[in-house]
Symmetry: C2
Subunit: 133 residues, 2 copies
Amino acid sequence: VRPFDVLVASHGPVAASLLAAAEMICGSASRAAAVSLEPDDSPESFGERLTSVLDPQRPTLILTDLNGGTPHNVACALARRGAAIRCIAGVNLGLVIEAITSDEELDDALVERLVTAAREAVVDASPSVAAHR
Amino acid sequence: VRPFDVLVASHGPVAASLLAAAEMICGSASRAAAVSLEPDDSPESFGERLTSVLDPQRPTLILTDLNGGTPHNVACALARRGAAIRCIAGVNLGLVIEAITSDEELDDALVERLVTAAREAVVDASPSVAAHR
């Protein structure tokens, strides 16, 4: 059982789509949710929605779509107030899969492994590159 | 003007969501499209849909959600048959933004820069890490 919650936060439905795709591949995930910034949201209204799905009793990993974007900035502001919130920007499907299937404690080592996994999931698979190998 | 087309290919609506989010941030993009693998798709039906949006007269960059997933495998199979198709797996929002706003030729150097940009977009922004800097 994963000892932390996973939230994916994004511009529009990126977060919900990534979580649904990860569940299409890995099966249904408990204690994982998606929060979308809609065009008529303010940072405040988005922050209220993000707060409403945060369980203050649980360590929480927030995966955001873009460093410097509103979903990320709001998540980081919450993380500065909450003791056990970690944020990783630049989420891709590989990162969501690694996060929801983890069963480790949400500590520095896990965050570092997840960042590495997300980066290594970015692969140039062009035929010309493969031919050079 | 970008001298190549951009296709985003994914499980379900990840691709369309990422493209819509990138356009929410950067403005509308021409010659960019999203193709989704639906639960009732076969690799063949998905490949037909991907082929139908490919313009064989144009170099095309296909961004896929997951190395080894069906959207990626089908895109790579098309790339092996098409001269001017490049594939990068592990798409995140930063990569879509970099790709649709590029105005360079789709060559090895650009693909390498885009891979680097996508990896560098994955950032641990947790407060405890920031405090250590």
